[in-house]
Symmetry: C3
Subunit: 322 residues, 3 copies
C-alpha cells in the first residue's frame, strides 16, 4: 500500500517521499519497505536506530527519527497503527497457493482440514476435526489430536503432541483505545513457533506474536487449559502445569517449573531453573535457581514463614484481647 | 403442557382452573401462559406483582400470590421447578424448520454445521468444524474461527470475532438439590446475546441464561479461556483478560477492565470504569471509576499498603523475638 | 515384548528367566505377565507384596522384591519405566476391530467420528464434530455436544451430558526427568470412567489415569473449564464450579463442593460433604463436613477472622505510627 494512501486513511500528514509499504513491523525489526510507529519517548533509542522506511509518530518526536525515514504525524501513533494494521492483515483463508505437501507415512484422518502451502513431516498423525491453516509447517512424528486448531503461518517441530482442543496461533489480545473508550484491534502478523519434543495439553491456547514469534523451545511440556499470550518465549525443558497463565512478552528461562494456576504479568524475565509454586503470581522479573510462591510473590521459604507468623500474630492478638 | 399434567408429574396439588402452560419463566418476566415459582419470602414483592399464569410455591405463601394465578403446592418449589424444566426444554436438534439463510458474500467452509432457521449476515466467514445451532442469528462481517460451537437461539452482532474453540450458549450451571444430596438440572431456556464489535478469545465459554439473555455489550473484548456464567451482563467496551471467571448474574458496567485470572462471585454489580487487577476476586458490589486488587478485594492502593505493612510487621516481630 | 528386549532397550542387566511382558502396571496392580517398577524405599511394603512378573528397580533394592520376580536393574527406575512405556502404548487409531455398535434410537449427526469396538447406548445423541476413540463405551440417554473429544478406552455412564469442547481421557501430565533436565513422557495406559448422571461443562478436561481409572462418580456436576488430572477420584454428587483444577490422584469424597477457581494439590483426600469456597487452595488432606477457604486453606470462619484481624492490626499499627 502506498504511504500516501495510509496517510489518507488516517487523515494524517506525511513528510517525505511517497513509497510502497509492504508490511508493518516493530521499530527494531522493521526494514526499508516497512512501516513502524513510536508511541513514547521511552523508545527514543530504538527510534533513532530504526531501519524502518516509514514511521507513525507524534509531531514532537519528528526530529528524533532518522532523516531518510518518511514520517506520518499522529497524536496517537499506537491508535493510528492499530487502525492501519487491519489493512495489512493477510487473508484468513488463502484461495491461491499450493496444495499441502504431506510427507510419507503420515496418517491424515478424514475431516481434517489442511490449508494451502502447508507442509507435514513424515510419520505424523493428524486426527479428525483438526484445522491447520495456510503456510503451516509441522515436523516429523507429530500427533495432532482431534479438534485442535493451528492458525496460519505457525511452525511445529518434530515429535510434538498437541492434545485435543488446543489452539495455536490465535490473535494476541492487543488493542489501542480512543478517548471515548472504544478499542481498536491490533492485527497480529506474527506467528507461533513450537520447537521439537514439545507436548501441549488439551484446550490450552498459545497466541501468535504481534510481529516475529511466540516461541516454545524444545522439550517444554505444557499441561491442559494453559494460556500463553502473544510474544512470550518459553525456554527449553520448562514445565507448565494446568491452568497457568502467562501475559504477553513474558520471557521464561530453561527448566522453569510453574505449578498449577500460577501466573505472570507480561514484559518480565524469569531466570533459568526457577520454580513457581502452584498459584504463585509473578509480577516482576525474578532470578533463576530459586523456588517462589504466593501473590505477591516471595521466595517459597519466606512465604511459608510469613504465613506462620501471621498465624502467630493473630493468636497473640487474641490473647491480648482476652 | 396442561397444568394438571405438571401437577401430576410432581405428585402435587394445584389450586385453580386447569390451563395450558407454554413455557417457564422468572417471576417478574412470566406471562399469562407461563409457569413460574417462588422459593422464599425474600421474593414476596416480586411474587405479589407477578403476571405468571401459574406458580409453584409453598403452602405458607399461597395467600401472597395474585388471586387469579393457579397455584401448585410444593415444599421444595425450586426442586419442583427443576424437575418440570426438563419437560419444557426445546429439542436439541430441530428436525423441522427452514434451511439457514446465508446472506451474500459469506464464506462458509466445508464441515461447518449450520442449523435450522439460522441466519448469517453478509460478508461473514464460518470456518471448518464450526457448529451453529438452530435459530441462531449472526450479523455481518463476522469471523467464526474453527471448531467454535454456538448453541441454539444465540445472537451474535456485526463485526464480531469468535476465536477457535469458543463455546457460546452452553447450559448454565444450575441445579436444585433434594434432601439426599442429589442434584436436578435446571434446563436453561434463555440464550446468549453478543452485540456488535465483540471479540471472544480461544476456548472461552459463555453460558446461556436461565431465562432471558446473558449479554455481552458492544465493543467488549474477551481474551482466551474466560468463563462467563449464565445471566451475566457485561457493559460496553469492557476488557476481560485471559482466564477470568464471572459467576452467574454478575452485572458489569461499561469500560470495566479485569486483569488475568481475576474473578467475581455472582449476583453483584461492578460499576462503570472499574479496574480489577490480575487475580482480584470481587465478592460484593463495587463502585466504578476505581482500581481494585486482591482477594478479599481492596482498593489497589490499600492492597499495596497492606502488603508492605504485613512485611514490616513481620520484620519487627522478628527483631522483638531476637 | 520379551524382557530381554526391554533390558536391551534400557541397556540394563536383568536377573531371572526371560519372559513375555504383556503390559505395564503399578506395583500393587501388576500381574504375572506385567512389568512394574519401584523408585524408592518408601514403597518397600508394596514392593514386597507385588504380584508383578518383572520389576525395574535399583540394585540396593534387589533383595526386597519377591524372589520369583525377574529384576531389571536401573539407577533411575522411574526414568527407565518412562522410556519403556512408549513401547507399550496402544495404537492411537485402531485399524482392526469391529465397527461401532450403536443402540436403537440414537441420533448420530454427520461429521461425528466413532472408533472401532465402541458402543453407544440407546437414545444417545452424538453431535457434529465429536470424536469418540476406540473401545469407548457410552451409556443410554447421553448427549455429547459438538466438538467434544473422548480418547480411546474411556467409559461414560447413562444420562450423562458432555458439553461442547470437553476433552475426556487426554494423557496424564507425567514425565520422568534425566540429569540433564530433559523430560520423558510416561505413556498413560489407564482411562477415564464417568458414572451415571454426570454433567461436564464446556471445554473442561479430564485426563486418563496412568494405570486403572480416573473416576467421576454418579451424579457429580462439573462446570466449564475445569481441569481434573490423572488418577483423580471424585465422589458421588459432588459439585465443581468453573475453572477448578485438581492435581493428580486427588481423592474427593461425596457431595463435596468446590467454588470457582478453587484448586487442590495431588495425592490427598478431601472428606465427604466438605465445601471449599471459591479460590480455596487445598494443600493437604482435609476432613469432611466443613467449609474451607483461602490459600493457605483455613476453615472458612477462621479465614474470615484472619482477614478482619489483619485489617485491624494494620489500622492499630497506623495509629501507633502517627
Amino acid at each position: 500500500m502506498l504511504l500516501s494512501k495510509i496517510a489518507n486513511i488516517l487523515g494524517a500528514e506525511f513528510f517525505g517521499e511517497d513509497r510502497e509499504i509492504l508490511s508493518l513491523n516493530a521499530l527494531d525489526l522493521a526494514k526499508e519497505s516497512e512501516l513502524s510507529f513510536c508511541e513514547s519517548e521511552k523508545h527514543t533509542k530504538r527510534l533513532q536506530s530504526t531501519k524502518a522506511g516509514a514511521l507513525i509518530l507524534d509531531k514532537n518526536m519528528l526530529d528524533l527519527a532518522p532523516k531518510d525515514c518518511v514520517k506520518i504525524v499522529s497524536k496517537t501513533p499506537y491508535l493510528s497503527f492499530a487502525i492501519i494494521s487491519k489493512y495489512f492483515a493477510k487473508p484468513l483463508i488463502s484461495k491461491e497457493g499450493k496444495d499441502p505437501i504431506i510427507a510419507e507415512n503420515c496418517q491424515i484422518m478424514e475431516r481434517a482440514y489442511i490449508g494451502k502451502d502447508t507442509k507435514i513431516g513424515k510419520n505424523s498423525t493428524i486426527m479428525s476435526g483438526v484445522y491447520i491453516g495456510d503456510r503451516v509447517e509441522i515436523g516429523e512424528d507429530c500427533v495432532i489430536y482431534p479438534n485442535t486448531t493451528i492458525y496460519n503461518d505457525c511452525k511445529i517441530g518434530n515429535r510434538c503432541s498437541l492434545h485435543a482442543g488446543a489452539v495455536i496461533g490465535g490473535d494476541g489480545f492487543g488493542y489501542a483505545h480512543d478517548s471515548s473508550g472504544r478499542h481498536y484491534k491490533i492485527y497480529h502478523s506474527g506467528n507461533v513457533v513450537i520447537e521439537d519434543d514439545v507436548e501441549i495439553g488439551a484446550n490450552s491456547t498459545i497466541d501468535r506474536a504481534l510481529f516475529a514469534s511466540t516461541i516454545i523451545k524444545e522439550g517444554t511440556k505444557i499441561d491442559n487449559l494453559v494460556m500463553i499470550a502473544h510474544n512470550c518465549e518459553i525456554g527449553q525443558n520448562s514445565i507448565l502445569a494446568a491452568q497457568v497463565g502467562l501475559s504477553g512478552s513474558t520471557v521464561v528461562g530453561r527448566n522453569v517449573v510453574f505449578g498449577g494456576q500460577a501466573g505472570s504479568v507480561g514484559h518480565i524475565k524469569i531466570g533459568d531453573f526457577a520454580t513457581i509454586a502452584a498459584r504463585g503470581g509473578v509480577s516482576k522479573s525474578i532470578s533463576g535457581g530459586k523456588v517462589y510462591a504466593g501473590f505477591p510473590l516471595l521466595e517459597h521459604r519466606e512465604w511459608l514463614k510469613m504465613h506462620s507468623k501471621i498465624a502467630r500474630l493473630i493468636k497473640q492478638k487474641q490473647k491480648q484481647e482476652v
